[in-house]
Every structure is written in structure tokens, then in C-alpha cells.
């Protein structure tokens, strides 16, 4: 594997909040469940550790984009579930559009979309 020059980490840091909002807009999840879903659905690209995931969750919650509540998971253990607020949904829509625009721009440059 090539050595990460820091840009990959920056990309991940920038994309992770959007990815978190996107996954939580589908259904409420707790931290560990979310890391597994992010890793699996991004094919390992968004493999977030504690040091990234929880600050993102707390930051989004602090901004009113997420809400959380402690519930009992299927395992019988108490877990904190996060879900997207209406404000978070609006932010997600806006960021999704921005992301698609950026993606189209990169594709037009020949940097994405396999061209």
C-alpha cells in the first residue's frame, strides 16, 4: 500500500460527516453499528476509528443535525442511538448537491468516473 501523504486523510475527514448523515438518514444507529456500516458500504474506504467517529457524532449533535437517545439494543445492552433531525436532513440535501457538483467537476477533468 502506498504511503498516505495526508491528502487521503483530509478527504476522509471532509467526506465522513456527509457519509454519517447519509447513513443515519436511512435509520438510527449506534456508534459501533455505524462504523461497521460505513466500512462495509464504502468498501473499506471510510474505516473510521474512535478518534474520528465520536468527535464527528458529537459535533453534528452539537450543531442540531443529529439527536441521540439511549436505548436497549438487540443484544440487550444499552446503546446510544443517533438519528438525523429535520435540520440535518436539510443540511444533507445541500451537501449531497455540493458533493455531486464536485464529483461532476472532477469527472469533467478526467479524474473520476473511469474516463
Amino acid at each position: 500500500m502506498e504511503k498516505d501523504d495526508g491528502i487521503g486523510r483530509e478527504f476522509t475527514r471532509g467526506a465522513a460527516p456527509l457519509a454519517v448523515l447519509h447513513l443515519l438518514s436511512r435509520r438510527a444507529m449506534y456508534g459501533y453499528e455505524l462504523t461497521r456500516a460505513l466500512s462495509a458500504q464504502s468498501q473499506g474506504v471510510l474505516d473510521l476509528g474512535h478518534s474520528t467517529l465520536y468527535p464527528i457524532l458529537y459535533n453534528l449533535e452539537n450543531k442540531g443535525l443529529l439527536r441521540s437517545e439511549e436505548r436497549t439494543a438487540e443484544s440487550g445492552r444499552a446503546r446510544r442511538y443517533y438519528h438525523v433531525t429535520p435540520k440535518g436532513e436539510r443540511r444533507l440535501d445541500r451537501q449531497r448537491s455540493q458533493w455531486l457538483e464536485l464529483s461532476r467537476g472532477m469527472e469533467a477533468l478526467g479524474l473520476a468516473g473511469g474516463s
Binding site: T52, P55, R79
Partner: protein
């Protein structure tokens, strides 16, 4: 310090985490410098995450390795939990709302004070004039009647009422209550 850590230590004692993972949780919450309940909530969440990892057949070594730097995590959590700086528009809106509310409150206070300074009962001026016209000179109410009629003639209803209020106080101070005075006060203040 010990007081802050007590709930965290209780949560760690209840967990099934090995020492190295428990120590990571301690270091994160210690660096986060959060208050008691927030600190406990963060600790419970990290403990739950690590327990899920162990239940998911991941080793303690692997979890510790992928945990990241606990001090850095604690610092990031502290920053994420801190209230963000207010936008200028929010500050202005809150300031204007505060000024508006203060002005409204001041207006209510001034209006209340002005209103309470004015006699509140309606005066039956016609009945008062009729009474004043028939009042006898030798009546003990003469002086008061003259005051009231003078004020009424000058169009000073407020002064007439003030004089009548004075009359009421005079009546209260007398051992006997002369009927003309009582009637005068009642008419002026709109009390039958």
C-alpha cells in the same frame, strides 16, 4: 478529580473490558475535560463500542491499535462538545430581541405607574354639580364643596377628584360623619 472519575470507574467496573482498553477510556475522558454527566455518557459510549468490538470477535490488541491516540480523541471530543461561536446574525438577532423586550417591559412599568397615579373611578360631574348647588353655606362640607365646584368650573376633573379623596380622608378622621361630606365624596368618586 476523584469525584469526576467515580461514575466512570463504576461504568468500567461493570464492563468486561480488559485493563488496556479500560485505560484508553480513562485517558480519553480525562483529556476531554467534560463535566460529570457528559463525561459519564462519553465513557459509557466508548465502553459499549469496545464491548461490541470484543463481541464481534476482534481482539483487545486490535481494538487498542485501531482506537487512535486517546489524548487526541479526548481533545477532539472536548472541542466537538463545546458550544460553537455564535454567528453575527444570531448575535444581532438576540441583541435586538433583548432590547425590544426591555423596551416593552419599560413601557409596561411606566404605563402602570402613570395609570395608578390617576384616580380610577369615574366621576358623576352632573350629580356633583347639582349637589354643590344645593349645599348649605353653614354645612361643614362648604369648603370642600367650594374646592370641588371651583375645580369643576375650571374643567379640572382630576383636581375635583383629588379634593374629594381629601374629603374622604377628612371624613375618616372625624368622630362623626357629616352626611353632606359623605355624599360629596361618594358623588365625586362615583360611589353611591
Amino acid at each position: 478529580m476523584a469525584n469526576h472519575l467515580r461514575p466512570v470507574e463504576r461504568a468500567l467496573a461493570r464492563s468486561e473490558l480488559p485493563c488496556e482498553l479500560a485505560d484508553l477510556v480513562r485517558r480519553v475522558v480525562s483529556t476531554s475535560q467534560l463535566s460529570g454527566e457528559e463525561r459519564s455518557a462519553v465513557a459509557r459510549e466508548l465502553i459499549a463500542h469496545l464491548e461490541d468490538g470484543l463481541a464481534d470477535s476482534r481482539s483487545a490488541e486490535e481494538l487498542a491499535r485501531t482506537f487512535g491516540d486517546p489524548e487526541c480523541t479526548g481533545w477532539l471530543i472536548r472541542r466537538a462538545r463545546a458550544p460553537g461561536p455564535m454567528r453575527l446574525a444570531t448575535v444581532l438577532a438576540k441583541g435586538l430581541a433583548g432590547v425590544g423586550l426591555s423596551a416593552l417591559l419599560l413601557w409596561f412599568v411606566v404605563a402602570w405607574r402613570l395609570d395608578s397615579a390617576r384616580p380610577s373611578r369615574a366621576t358623576d360631574a352632573a350629580a356633583l354639580r347639582a349637589f354643590a348647588a344645593t349645599a348649605r353655606q353653614e354645612d361643614r362640607a362648604r369648603d370642600r364643596v367650594e374646592d370641588v365646584t371651583r375645580a369643576l368650573a375650571a374643567g379640572e376633573a382630576g383636581a375635583a377628584e383629588a379634593s374629594a379623596l381629601h374629603t374622604v380622608r377628612l371624613i375618616d378622621s372625624l368622630s362623626t360623619r357629616p352626611e353632606p361630606l359623605a355624599r360629596l365624596a361618594g358623588l365625586t368618586l362615583g360611589v353611591s
